[in-house]
Symmetry: C2
Subunit: 489 residues, 2 copies
Amino acid sequence: MADTIESTQTPTFVREITKMSEDFDRWYTDVVRKAELADYSPVRGCMVVRPYGYAIWEHIQRAFDDMIKSSGHENWYFPLLIPESFLAREAEHVEGFTPEVAWVTEAGKHGRLEERLAIRPTSESIIGGTVGRYIQSHRDLPVLLNQWCNVVRWEMRTRLFLRTAEFLWQEGHTFHATAQEAMDEVDLILEYYRRIAEDWLAIPVLVGRKSETEKFAGAVYSKSIEAMMRDGLALQAGTSHYFGQNFSQAYGISFTAHDNRREYCYTTSWGISTRLVGGLVMAHGDDAGLVLPPRVAPVQAVVVPIFRDAEGREHVRRFVETWQDLIRDAGVRLRVDWSEERPGEKFNRWELKGVPLRLEVGPRDVEANQVMLVDRLSRERRPLPVAGLADRLQEELDRFQIRLFERALEFRRRNTYEFATLAELVAHFREGTGFAWAPWCGRDECEARVKEETGGVTTRNFEPDVPAQGTCLVCGRPARWRVAFGRSY
Amino acid sequence: MADTIESTQTPTFVREITKMSEDFDRWYTDVVRKAELADYSPVRGCMVVRPYGYAIWEHIQRAFDDMIKSSGHENWYFPLLIPESFLAREAEHVEGFTPEVAWVTEAGKHGRLEERLAIRPTSESIIGGTVGRYIQSHRDLPVLLNQWCNVVRWEMRTRLFLRTAEFLWQEGHTFHATAQEAMDEVDLILEYYRRIAEDWLAIPVLVGRKSETEKFAGAVYSKSIEAMMRDGLALQAGTSHYFGQNFSQAYGISFTAHDNRREYCYTTSWGISTRLVGGLVMAHGDDAGLVLPPRVAPVQAVVVPIFRDAEGREHVRRFVETWQDLIRDAGVRLRVDWSEERPGEKFNRWELKGVPLRLEVGPRDVEANQVMLVDRLSRERRPLPVAGLADRLQEELDRFQIRLFERALEFRRRNTYEFATLAELVAHFREGTGFAWAPWCGRDECEARVKEETGGVTTRNFEPDVPAQGTCLVCGRPARWRVAFGRSY
């Protein structure tokens, strides 16, 4: 099997975007590539993140980094390479990740290494094996650490942003003196993730706990945010894990408590990744391409000048130059497109790239001291006076952000169902998608049965504090939780 | 040979810092570890960057990222793993880097890979092998790209920050239609690097070109900034390379020029790394520890409250709380140390951590509505009234930044020499260190002779546009350049 594929010398350009309704998967890949978010690379399963995609990731990074720093988390950096013996110390963890590990076995003049080194698939083991030395007493706790880095998970089937052999993420790892404090940390971060998804990416999410089957390898429990894509499939968009003392025992991370006894720490970990960029595409996009929420859009408003000849161009240019810097100084990410394409081509390109607001400026607009506003959602044209334009654009962007969220929420509402029996649920998922709520006893067997009979529908998450009514959709025992089922990426 | 070393279960703490004059290398490692910048890891040659060290790197990142974005550069992300066949395409390049490469040979369920994958030691080859597809015509140029990432170079002898198997850096890669434009880019970035070193890190640098022997593997020429450490050794602190068409020919990166002919691009690459954090330690530190330039200091001013009892503590606390937020809101990174140590211990700790300004606040200061300012350079104590404190602190920080730079400049002046003959230079470097300027014919042989006779002194860089006077210090031929010699890290 060749592990390096595709000659880069023969580029394949995406000429047209497949219609979403025709083939959602191809539509997705077409949009990601044609909107210049990312591209395949010559390394199997690894992607090239292009500037337009990377800029979105930078906005997400900045927002989340500010949140965690405001609550005392600090950024560290730990080694990329993890000795095999380290990875092996926590049994469930190693079992969960080993099938996906890429191994360094030779290096430099050394030649063959005595012990294989794993490229981190996640860093619990290297952090667990390192951070213990900084923790002596309860006064050293909590340790609230985070790192922004790349990880490698050797997946057989990959997809740009959603599942790639290498991806970028943040991974938080925290160490606490009490179980309660660690569990509170899991919830704090989950709330940050909800804000990133809902307030920044305009994607409504289900916030809840994963089942035993779906939790992280080695966790006591995992919580997640789950988003619905426009094909009705679920995307796990962020996870926050509580480990109890599992990892601290495996890695010997202990502290001297108030009563002078040595105790193991309670730990958590949590992560979001560049997968969110893919989620953004699939939650908001349409047949014309991307639709970007203003808060993370690299370009929030694009000016398309309209003119017939060089003189007209000069006329429009002088007009635009009287206000473009005012708009930028007010904090709007504005681009003026002076390229040589025709206006219609520019409209298409910036729609493809999901820019929220387009400002058309022609000779008549210059006379009227106005711009013609077209937004990416409604596509209606409305004149806006240049006086007070910066404030008006900010208002439009704020409104766009809210409308986009509400549209996604409405979409989720229309694609959310409630079932009482396995038969109903199976019947629904024969053709249908979306989220299906059902009462569940909480046992693995019933979950497995649903997965089997539907050919892959799994529990997404549930609110652990909300007791369920009725009986388990599968076995008829009293229900423990009301859980959301769905097919997922 | 064991490739994973050191049990992390038996932490070795640095109790005292070795005196700089006794053993500079041990002094350096003690300071890096005890000031909590970084630490050894269980992976041979890889380090753990701790929050205090990482925060300095974040300040450097932000400053440089703003500079390059202001001139149209964009951040991308390329794969960590590079197929061996890609690395091999540029002959000099592969020869230069292969001895340091860590190889992935096994992955996931695949088991053994058909082709080895290199962990990037630098990304010319993967970027060169990828970016060509985005360049069709001269209208697509220039492509000005950058990435922030980790790289791995398997070094035999490693040192925290200065030479580690894995390090963090930015690598810029640019593609131009003309040689002149590419050469201008090399100089633009070199000027940014000079600003990072001098204006941000307060480290004066020699800005110039490297010799043929010292240039980057595969470059037409390399330029660098070279700093002097407090042991008189040179640190190459940033490099900017001009490749001509070497890489674009090897990787087939061509464009259609105005005259419709297909031409190869002219390319550059350039990088700075976490090595700069080590340079910061060695350029400014002293026997008490770090001295940090305010512009990158994680903590710019620390308040140490002084009191006898709980009542005194409350008294001081109420006072500090009347102004601490005003200082922070004015943009000063202020920390108030309410830990349980004695004031003397706190003084030592924050001096060790190189915090520029210390504000002591005791009962008498509360009465006088003032703080007692002690700066890390002069250590003189001066009262500052609370009225207008934020502005005064900003002024003090600005002055501190300048004084630190001037001190380093003065140190470099005192340790810079001018020699006309090899004999003089060899005699000097028998015991001495520092930079030694000498006229040089530019030939490899003469450079090699200096290196041999001094046991390792190399050319650092030279100003290519300044013609030299006199004759080569080695061979007596007419000098081509005046070049700086030095021992280097």
